[in-house]
Amino acid sequence: MIHVFAWALAIAWLFPFVGLLMASFRPIPEIIGGWWNFGQFSPTLDKFGSAFSKIGTGLGNSVLIAVPGTLIPMFVATLAGYGFARFSFPVRDYLFLTIVLLMTIPQQMVAIPIFRIMLGLGLANTVSSLILLHSAWGLPWIILFMRNFISSLPKEVEEAARVDGASDFKVFFRIVLPMALPALGAVAVLQFMWVWNDFFFAVLLCPATVSCMPATVALIRTIGRFEFDPGLLAAGSVLVMLVPVAMYAVLQRYYIRGMVGWTIKG
């Protein structure tokens, strides 16, 4: 009984997504009154073609932003996370706590100065501005995550290497980094998803320039919402969410590990 109910609920949970999907590949008149009307059924991929021609550049920009926007903070934060886990120096814990507290800051809190800084650096309306900003913005949570993970690793191997005369950097690159790979996998999928899904920073730094706008902004700006073509918007939305959903489907265990480890340990 409870099985049937749980499954029914899970299927009902997917109804809105199915609705979006139906609107993307069926003519709108067919789905008036609910997508479950199959009196007429003439699926077509036309809308996906025209949606791709409108937001294809945006999808490309999203990749150009999200890949370095994931790799840069991963590397930088792992260095710092290792430092916080293993080196002791005055004010270390205060510094760490401050960085962690920055995690709770809303994006709006930095918007105006960031906009001005990027204008000043001549980076407004470029992909680079978003890479830089996401790299910095991702650091607090990745530092926290990596510091917690590295603290949980046994110290003995590092100490043994140090006795053999290995430098801090050698220890970091040869011993710590390889051992941290599972944690880095979790960091990579979450950070990539957040950068890909981001809308606020994107619309802040690239509100109207096709050459820099990522897919989330392109979806709103080039397909639009008013007097809109519902089929086209639905197809565009499916294309934008395809990447994070497919990644989640394939790399699920990293998501759970990342989400739960990060929140519960944090």
Partner: protein, 291 residues
């Protein structure tokens, strides 16, 4: 000293693009648009504005102002998503194929929130929307119209929609939490003849307290920061009459949409919002330490 190299890149990026802008925003919030120092004047203007809180003549349909909307969001979305996720986590322990169900429910968490907002159009549209079509099917005509065109259904529709998107979070956290509780606890309680409900209130829920704190903190932060969803479902004005306007959107509109822009007021909204997130975080963290 060489060890400074481990921290330098991170500190540089955080200082330049996170910490400095935070203080600069506080600075901006103290000045008016023409550049004169007004102290906390912008805060007074913002907090006294009907954009922020507008309860004159209550009860009435929304808009009630951004601050009230965020508060309503927390009041409805937090308990619903928390208990729905907890209940599902408990139920799904004994269901075959539970991991598939969890996967399905978690999709809302990986969907870009701007798409989540657009999804609201397909959820609530009067002609093709899933929800109005469903109410039409079961004969409730009053709810079989476009939800986003009316202030009341717009605000509450978006809140319910956001419950649908976010419940995956508490489900996943509680599911992970339940696996850390040894089975003996329940077996011991079962032997004593404890009822299921008592077992939940006396054993399970108290043991899940760390997860509950995490879910409450993260959910409140999410509700306070909500932006993309409203932007995607409505417009920079927060829909009909601003009925779904929220603090995050208000800030964006003041600084980057309205002409002339009012960056001082926008910065005041941002600072106020940050104070709220800080208070929420510190309150729950202190609770965690006291435990």
């Amino acid at each position: 000293m060489l060890r400074l190299v481990f921290f330098a890149p991170a500190l540089l990026l955080v200082l330049l693009f996170v910490a400095y802008p935070v203080f600069a925003t506080i600075g901006v919030s103290l000045f008016s648009s023409d550049g004169s120092f007004v102290g906390f004047g912008n805060y007074g203007t913002v907090l006294g504005s009907p954009d922020t809180a507008n309860l004159n003549g209550f009860p009435k349909p929304p808009p009630y102002g951004t601050l009230i909307h965020n508060a309503i969001w927390i009041g409805i979305h937090l308990p619903l998503s928390l208990f729905l996720g907890l209940w599902l986590a408990l139920v799904l322990r004994d269901v075959k194929g539970a991991s598939w169900i969890k996967t399905a429910i978690f999709i809302g968490m990986v969907t870009p929130l701007i798409v989540g907002g657009i999804l609201m159009l397909y959820l609530y549209d009067g002609n093709i929307g899933v929800v109005p079509s469903f109410f039409n099917l079961i004969g409730v005509q009053s709810l079989a119209t476009g939800w986003l065109q009316h202030p009341v259904t717009l605000l509450f529709g978006l809140i319910f929609g956001s419950v649908w998107l976010w419940t995956g979070f508490s489900l996943i956290v509680y599911s992970a939490g339940l696996t850390t509780i040894p089975k003996d606890y329940w077996e011991a309680a079962k032997v004593d003849g404890t009822s299921t409900f008592r077992m939940f209130t006396r054993v399970t829920f108290p043991l899940l307290k760390p997860m509950t704190i995490v879910v409450i903190t993260m959910t409140i932060l999410w509700e306070l920061k909500i932006f993309d969803l409203v932007f995607g479902a409505t417009n920079p004005q927060g829909g009909v009459g601003g009925a779904a306007d929220v603090l995050g959107l208000q800030m964006y509109r003041y600084a980057f949409v309205q002409l002339p822009a009012n960056v001082g007021a926008a910065a005041a909204v941002a600072t106020f919002l940050s104070i709220l997130t800080m208070v929420a975080t510190v309150a729950t963290l202190r609770y965690m330490v006291k435990r």
